[in-house]
């Protein structure tokens, strides 16, 4: 799957955890989940769990630790579904 396609899918995963939905419209790979989207850092695990369920993958602890930006999410997902 192309990175662009994953990003579009990722918007749906991030949606319930993002208070200001408009911010999701213009995200790119450099968008920080916590700083830019104002997502509660405690919810990062929920986002990872939701992404795992969506793609039927497992994102290991160490990969999950590195997730800061949207691009990091795409990396973690694309590695597993490749």
């Amino acid at each position: 799957m192309e990175r662009r396609a994953i990003l579009e899918e990722l918007k749906k995963v991030l949606y319930p955890y993002t208070e200001n939905k408009e911010l999701l419209e213009n995200i790119d790979e450099h968008t920080s989940l916590v700083k830019d989207l104002k997502i509660n850092s405690a919810n990062l695990v929920d986002i990872i769990i939701d992404a795992e369920a969506k793609y039927s993958i497992e994102i290991d602890f160490d990969s999950a630790e590195k997730i800061i930006t949207v691009g990091d999410c795409i990396n973690a997902i694309s590695e597993k579904i490749a």
């Binding site: 319930p16 695990v45 929920d46 369920a53």
Partner: protein
């Protein structure tokens, strides 16, 4: 001089009415919220009726943020959030301000975690899927979950205390909030309690054989406090909440005042002298009621209405006797007494707060709500008090002062004295 404490807001989620207006209408009209539940038959329970609020979960979207609502679970939590926030707005306050409100706290109680929520956790962990539990389950199973959600939503910065004292929880929580204001610790307190009796808790009570099992075909007749044919309580669920406020503070902001909390008491019989894990000791109960009357600075004769614990078990007769001895009143000199449980069953921790909302409403609207299913009063009770003390229809009456008590497992007692504000 001691500070005076008044009630300025109320919220309620009751089996016979969600929201104060619906609840008021129901308790005036003697509307039962007890229904038959086929699940209990499938589960082979003796008792197959219960009082469950007609609760629309989706309505919570108007109470918490969208992000919080996503992944929210647990009925007791939902009931508690709704009752507390309704009370807060009823008192004329806004929700969701940016600043911490340092002078306002919360005491809110419940008996047990929601077993249906806990069960999901057990199932995940036992299936070696703990990794998939996510970030939200701890906040929803911790004992302080309801106070955490309420205080977070409102930005409360004073004492935030989750309490648990079985069936005395609600009354005790209100008393604690009252005391914090009276002693000057807080200006306002959000107080109350919440309970969801899920099938696991229900089943455990059913096994104790203290639930009503002879009226499964007539659910509205099943809860019969003080009746000769009473044979156990009917589980109920829900939540009640009050906003307590320092009188000067309330007057300063021009708040509407429903009633005054004059005083109260809370104690234990120590599981001695007839008291046990499951039964209250009379000396403790009598002392608790006397202490509440003394604390309120009134004479026992001033009490116009007793809102009893009165669950529809064999303990009802002893409770009436305890009230007679504590107040030194009996026969025709005994005040009217009612049990809300006749309409909604026994909602354990939530009983004290829902019944306190009812007590305040009876002061505000000057009436005594009926005891339904009391066409056959227990003769043992009639030996102590006049039949006129047991209204079976709503009664218009001047109500200045109400005594409200609840007694819980562990031999814990709590009694509050509410009064018309003058």
């Amino acid at each position: 001089m001691s500070r005076r404490v008044v009630v300025t807001g109320m919220g309620v989620v009751s089996p016979n009415g969600v929201g104060v207006p619906a609840f008021l209408q129901a308790i005036r009209d003697g509307v039962s919220g007890i229904r038959y539940n086929p699940l209990y038959k499938d589960l082979h329970f003796y008792c197959q009726v219960a009082g469950m609020p007609e609760f629309e979960w989706e309505k919570l979207k108007g109470y918490v943020s969208e992000i919080t609502f996503h992944g929210l679970q647990g009925l007791a939590l939902g009931y508690g959030i709704m009752a507390a926030l309704d009370a807060w707005t009823d008192a004329g306050n806004a929700v969701g301000g940016k600043e911490t409100i340092w002078d306002t706290g919360c005491v809110f109680g419940s008996s047990v975690s929601d077993c249906e929520v806990v069960k999901k956790i057990f199932n995940r962990v036992d299936a070696c899927e703990a990794k998939k539990l996510g970030s939200r389950v701890i906040e929803q199973m911790m004992n302080s979950s309801i106070t955490a959600y309420i205080s977070g939503r409102l930005g409360l910065g004073n004492r935030i205390i989750a309490t648990s004292a079985a069936c005395a929880t609600g009354t005790q929580a209100i008393l604690m909030g009252f005391e914090y204001i009276r002693q000057g610790t807080a200006k306002r307190m959000v107080v109350g309690s919440s309970e969801h009796v899920d099938p696991y808790i229900y089943g455990a009570f059913d096994s104790m054989r203290i639930l009503s099992r002879k009226f499964n075909g007539m659910p509205e007749k099943a809860s019969r406090p003080m009746s000769q044919t009473a044979a156990g309580f009917v589980p109920g669920s829900g939540a009640g909440a009050l906003i307590l406020e320092d009188l000067d503070y309330a007057l300063g902001r021009g708040a509407r005042i429903y009633a005054e909390v004059l005083g109260g008491a809370c104690n234990s019989g120590g599981q001695r002298n007839g008291g046990s894990m499951t039964a209250p000791a009379s000396p403790g109960v009598i002392r608790c009621i006397k202490d509440a009357v003394t604390d309120a600075g009134i004479e026992p004769q001033a009490i116009d209405l007793i809102s009893g614990h009165l669950t529809a078990t064999a303990a009802d007769t002893m409770e009436i006797q305890n009230w007679c001895l504590a107040l030194d009143r009996n026969g025709r000199n005994f005040p009217p007494v009612n049990s809300l449980k006749s309409m909604i069953g026994h909602s354990l921790s939530a009983a004290g707060s829902i019944e306190s909302v009812a007590a305040v409403l009876q002061i505000v609207h000057q009436f005594v709500h009926p005891n339904i299913n009391l066409e056959d009063p227990n003769p043992e009770i009639l030996r102590q008090i006049d039949p006129g003390c047991l209204p079976v229809k709503a009664m218009e009456k001047e109500i200045r002062t109400v005594a409200k008590a609840n007694f819980g497992f562990g031999d814990v007692n709590a009694c509050l004295i509410f009064s018309k504000y003058n």
